[in-house]
Structures are given as structure tokens and as C-alpha cells.
């Protein structure tokens, strides 16, 4: 039976890469299924979170409340106990509360692939355009927080797996809001011989992408397809398909298939995480690299390659 579905989403990060993809998925669901949709921005004060949850849950008017952002966990746990009938979907992680719905992403898998590709290209040296002989690749993180460390961990493991002699230089901007700093960090990495820089830094990372164009080196985008931000300089993007996650959940709900507690994993296998090589770069990648990359993807899918998660 088709019912009118009402959905709220709450986060402090709707404007940043992954949040954007979530919002895209929600909006798509809204157009496709005509759901009611409410987006609530939490701001950045921890004191406010709990009350915002309560304001949403109190009216019992939302079938599903999507929650994104680890700093909300505490408030979420409390409010979900207060409103046991309210269904919350926690995006991007799994908590120890069995009554909740989780949409979990294996960003370390996609990052592993990104690291593998980057290190293999770097290892080619001057055989590949714009690559020097620095034998190093870079990483620019936003704040130095666990989820970003998880990206970095996958990236480092992938790089080491594919080309052990390529070094990974990682830096953090300390903020998601300072693209100028992101640009500067990337240029510093390029200057020190890292020819490929992976950004996991929200708007700060935009600076990284723009810096790759300025320095005419390579960057790797994150969360959404960033190939267009610096054509010719973006190797690919590690897509974290928040849009797919929310869209499928809502689709189930609308189809009368009520979403129930439990963990949905979005990984390479399910297509929730994906490494997309940019179209303009793909033809330039040597066959051996492509082949090995495919092997690696297969290894991850088979479970032959085990990737450690950052704590």
C-alpha cells in the first residue's frame, strides 16, 4: 500500500561533499515519490543537537529521520531512547544500538582503490604525463578525525599494496571551511614531489582540486564526482554514494516495504562506494595498471584483500 511518506534529515554537513550527495538523493526521492522532506541544519554547537532531535521527533510526523555526522551520536542515542517508535537512520556508521537503522559505507575500500591507482601511476614516473620522479603521493584531510583517518588508512594500504616504494604524505587542514588553506596544502605537497593528491576535506578540499589545475598535477576527488572541477587534472573520484543509500531506503519505504532496524552496508560490492576514473584520464592509463586495478577490486570483493579500518 502506497502511503504518503515523510522524511527528515539532520546534519551539520549538508553543504559538504558527502552531505551534498545525501541531499541529492533526498531531492531525487522527493521528485520521484512526492515525499515530504525536511532538512535541518544542526549548526556546530553541541549544546543544540539534542533539542533539534526532539523538535523533529516530538510531532511523530516523520516516518524516517536520517542522521548524518558522528558528533550527533550522543544526542541521537538519548532521543532514540526517549522516542522508541521513531525510526532513525544513522548514515555512515554503526552504533551499539540494535534498534536503529544504519547505512554504513566502506570508504576504506574506495580509498584503497584510489591509493592503489595513485601509487601505480606515480610509480610510472615520467612515463606518465605530469608525473615526476618523487615517488610520493599526497593526502589532504579536513579535520584530523576518525572518519577521515579511515579514508587515509585505506588510501595508504592501497598505495602500499600496489606500489610499496611509493610514499604517502598526509596533511590535515584542521578545518573543512578554508579552501585557501586546502589549496596551499596541496601546493606544498606538489612542491615536495607528491604528484597526486587525494582530498578528503569538504570545501577545504575544493582548494585541493583547484590547486591541481594551478600546479598542473593530479588530484583525486571524494564523495561526489569531481572530474569537472579541474578537467585533465583529476584522476578520478572516490564516490561515496550517499544518494544511492537514502534513495533506496526511501524507495523501500514508499513501496510499503518498511525499513527496519539493522545495518545496510554500502561498499564496493553494493555500489555504495565506487572509484570512478575520470573519462578524460581513463584512456591514458597504461593497460598493466588497469589490469592490476581490476585485480585489486576483485580481491576486495572476494575478501582476499582485507583492509584494516581506522579506529
Amino acid at each position: 500500500a502506497q502511503t504518503k511518506v515523510s522524511v527528515a534529515a539532520i546534519s551539520g554537513y549538508f553543504a559538504q561533499g558527502f552531505g551534498v550527495s545525501i541531499v541529492n538523493g533526498l531531492n531525487k526521492a522527493k521528485t520521484d515519490f512526492g515525499i515530504d522532506l525536511k532538512l535541518v541544519d544542526t549548526g556546530n554547537r553541541a549544546l543544540d543537537y539534542q533539542e533539534q532531535f526532539e523538535n523533529l521527533a516530538k510531532g511523530k510526523q516523520y516516518d524516517l529521520i536520517f542522521v548524518m555526522g558522528w558528533e550527533l551520536v550522543d544526542s541521537l542515542q538519548k532521543v532514540s531512547k526517549e522516542y522508541p517508535d521513531q525510526r532513525f537512520v544513522f548514515i555512515d556508521g554503526v552504533l551499539d544500538n540494535p534498534k536503529m537503522i544504519y547505512a554504513n559505507f566502506a570508504e576504506e575500500q574506495g580509498s584503497f582503490v584510489a591509493g592503489a591507482l595513485a601509487s601505480m601511476i606515480e610509480a610510472k614516473g615520467s612515463e606518465f604525463p605530469k608525473i615526476g620522479d618523487g615517488k610520493a603521493i599526497g593526502f589532504v584531510g579536513g579535520r584530523d578525525i576518525p572518519v577521515i583517518r579511515n579514508f587515509l588508512g585505506g588510501y595508504e594500504q592501497g598505495a602500499k599494496y600496489a606500489a610499496p616504494d611509493v610514499k604517502v604524505n598526509s596533511v590535515f587542514a584542521g578545518t573543512f571551511d578554508d579552501p585557501a588553506k586546502g589549496s596551499e596544502l596541496a601546493q606544498a605537497l606538489y612542491g615536495q614531489g607528491s604528484d597526486i593528491v587525494y582530498n578528503v576535506a569538504g570545501p577545504t578540499g575544493e582548494g585541493v582540486m583547484q590547486a591541481s589545475a594551478a600546479a598542473d598535477k593530479y588530484s583525486i576527488g571524494v564523495d561526489i564526482d569531481m572530474c569537472g572541477t579541474a578537467p585533465g587534472n583529476v584522476l578520478g573520484s572516490m564516490l561515496k554514494r550517499g544518494d544511492i543509500a537514502v534513495y533506496t531506503l526511501i524507495k523501500d519505504e514508499v513501496g510499503g516495504n518498511k525499513v527496519t532496524a539493522g545495518t545496510r552496508t554500502f561498499d564496493l560490492k553494493s555500489g555504495g562506494v565506487e572509484f570512478k576514473v575520470c573519462d578524460d584520464i581513463a584512456p591514458k592509463i597504461p593497460a598493466d595498471v588497469t589490469a592490476k586495478l581490476d585485480d585489486i577490486k576483485k580481491g576486495i570483493l572476494d575478501g582476499k584483500i582485507v583492509i584494516a579500518k581506522a579506529k
Binding site: 554537513y13 549538508f14 553543504a15 559538504q16 552531505g19 551534498v20 541531499v23 541544519d41 584531510g141 584530523d144 604524505n169 598526509s170 596533511v171 590535515f172 587542514a173 584542521g174 578545518t175 571551511d177 578554508d178 579552501p179 585557501a180 588553506k181 586546502g182 589549496s183 596551499e184 596544502l185 601546493q187 606544498a188 605537497l189 606538489y190 612542491g191 615536495q192 614531489g193 569538504g202 570545501p203 577545504t204 575544493e206 582548494g207 583547484q210 590547486a211 594551478a214 569537472g228 572541477t229
Partner: protein, 328 residues
């Protein structure tokens, strides 16, 4: 040695110039108000408004330079509000400055949400960034050092060219002179019929002009996007520099280069495994240390002046001593 080579090189110097430019521009703007005797802690907000409206203008008109003009206009509006409250209504400079900073933060986010339906950042949407200027012959002339003079956006050149221009302005133009006089000795200005109010308004607006340029540079030059709070404390940094440079353009340049260098250098330090959060404090620690060190060092100057006046006095004293010894 190898580490040093990796740390200190042409790229670092070029990076220093890039990180310096926005702070330099906004600090040079603040130089006008500092010289005119106004403590302008609202630079941060003017810069942020400039950055936001530059992006809006760029999207709206499709031209980067029209965008810059929009950004400057917005910063001027903030500067005008500052001047009205501080100069005409004599409101407390710190209160007004801080409130305008808060206003700029809230306003940009509200407008972003109203216009783009989202907050956070504006990327794409047809923002046209400023072109990079390739100085002809730079490569031939300087070889690997070419990145030091070539490949920056126009506003970077404006920032550095503004330094000698401001030196000239303060030393050789009437308005520059009046700004200094109004800040240093308003009684003198008043006695000569120079309008203190008018000069302070002009100084505030000139400040807004450069702060707006600085903001536009952040969002259209340095990178091509707007992010909430993207001024990231650069305005406050500029205020610190202004305090110990007393607004002198050359000292402002020196201070900005110091912080630009501290910033660029600290970013590079991270790659050597120093904890990111500690490395990120470096520019602020440098600023604070400089502030304290210079206020401590102000003492020898007093001592020097005392010695000079003592010498003068000794001659004067001898004269009066003679008078005393020979009463008529």
C-alpha cells in the same frame, strides 16, 4: 640538509607570497583606519562580505572583475556602517567591529541559503575566477625563479604594489598626510580646519575598499568558491599586525610576510609528521609572540628618547644655571 632543501625552496617563497597577499591587502586597508586613529576590529567581517558578494557578482554578471567590484561594494557598505556608528555616533569601536563581524557571518549564510537553498559553500554555479597573470619574459629572465613574479592573480600584484603606493600616499599626498594627522594629533587637525569626521570617513571607506579586494581575492583569486567563514581569522591576524606595525605600510608588509611565511612553512612542516593541530597553531603563536615581544621592546625606545631629551636639557640647564649664578 635534504629536508631543508625540501622545506625551503622557490615553491615555499611563492606560497609565502600567496598566503601573504590576502592578509596584506586587508591589513593595508586597516592601515588607513589605524593611521586615522580608529581601531578597526571589523576587518574580518568586511573581508567576508567582500568574498561573498564577489562570488555573487561573478555568478550574476559572468565577469570576474564585475564580481570584484560587487565584493568591494559590499565591503564598502560595511565600512560605511562602521564609520557612521563609530565616527558619527561615537559608538565603541570594538563593539561595532565585533557586531559587524557577526553580522557578516550570519548574513552571508542566510543569503546563501536564500539564494542557493543550501549553506556551507558555493562552488561551480558559473563562478568566474580571476585569470592568472603570466608576466611575459618571466621564464626567460628568472628561469626556475619565475614563479616568484609570474602566475598570480591580478589582486596579488595589487596587494604588493599597494605597499609602495601607500608609502607614497602617506608621505606625499594631502589626504594621506591628513589621515596621519587626524590619527596622531587630532587637535592639530582641528586647529587647521581639517575635518576630523570627514577624514575618518574617508579612511574607513578606503579601508573597506582594500578589505573588499582582499575578500574578493580569497573567493575569486586564491580559489574560486565561497565557503562560510572563509576569511578564517585573516582579518584578526591583520589587526594584530596593524597594532605592532602602527599601520606603517612597510612594517605591515614585513608583518604580513612573517605570518605568510609562518603559515606556508607550518603547512609544510606537517608532512614531516608533526601533529597537525599543533602545527596549525604556529601562525597564531608567531603573531602573539611578535605582539608581546614588540610591546616589550617598546621600552628601549622610551629610554632612547629620554637620553636624547636629557642631552637637550643639559644644555638648557647650563643656561639657566648661569642665570642663577649671576643674579642681577
Amino acid at each position: 640538509m635534504e629536508i631543508l632543501d625540501k622545506l625551503i625552496n622557490v615553491a615555499l617563497i611563492a606560497a609565502t607570497l600567496r598566503t601573504t597577499a590576502p592578509i596584506l591587502l586587508v591589513a593595508l586597508g586597516g592601515s588607513f583606519t589605524t593611521k586615522a586613529g580608529i581601531f578597526n576590529i571589523g576587518l574580518e567581517g568586511q573581508m567576508l562580505a567582500g568574498a561573498f558578494f564577489a562570488v555573487i557578482g561573478s555568478i550574476w554578471t559572468g565577469s570576474a572583475f564585475a564580481g570584484v567590484a560587487c565584493g568591494v561594494a559590499a565591503a564598502l557598505a560595511f565600512a560605511l556602517a562602521f564609520a557612521v556608528l563609530v565616527v558619527t555616533f561615537r559608538a565603541n569601536e570594538v563593539v561595532v567591529g565585533l557586531a559587524l563581524n557577526i553580522l557578516a557571518g550570519g548574513m552571508t549564510i542566510s543569503l546563501m541559503k536564500a539564494i542557493f537553498g543550501t549553506r556551507g559553500s558555493i562552488v561551480g554555479h558559473g563562478i568566474v575566477g580571476l585569470p592568472k597573470v603570466q608576466v611575459p619574459g618571466a621564464q626567460a629572465l628568472l628561469g626556475s625563479w619565475a614563479p616568484l613574479i609570474s602566475g598570480f592573480t591580478p589582486i596579488v600584484y595589487v596587494a604588493f604594489l599597494a605597499v609602495p603606493l601607500l608609502v607614497l600616499f602617506y608621505n606625499r599626498t594631502r589626504l594621506g598626510l591628513y589621515i596621519r594627522v587626524v590619527g596622531e594629533k587630532p587637535e592639530a587637525a582641528e586647529a587647521l580646519g581639517i575635518s576630523i569626521t570627514r577624514v575618518r570617513y574617508i579612511a574607513s571607506l578606503l579601508c573597506g575598499l582594500l578589505a573588499g579586494l582582499a575578500g574578493a581575492h580569497l573567493s575569486l583569486g586564491y580559489i574560486t568558491m565561497f565557503t562560510e567563514n572563509m576569511s578564517s581569522g585573516r582579518g584578526f591576524m591583520a589587526v594584530a599586525i596593524l597594532i605592532f606595525s602602527n599601520g606603517d605600510p612597510l612594517k605591515v608588509l614585513a608583518g604580513c610576510l612573517l605570518f605568510g611565511f609562518a603559515d606556508a612553512f607550518s603547512l609544510r612542516l606537517q608532512t614531516f609528521g608533526f601533529p597537525s593541530y599543533l602545527v596549525l597553531t604556529v601562525p597564531y603563536v608567531v603573531a602573539l609572540t611578535a605582539l608581546f615581544a614588540l610591546s616589550y621592546r617598546a621600552r628601549p625606545k622610551i629610554i632612547k628618547e629620554t637620553l636624547a631629551s636629557m642631552q637637550k636639557l643639559l644644555s638648557a640647564d647650563r643656561n639657566s644655571a648661569q642665570v642663577d649664578k649671576n643674579p642681577q
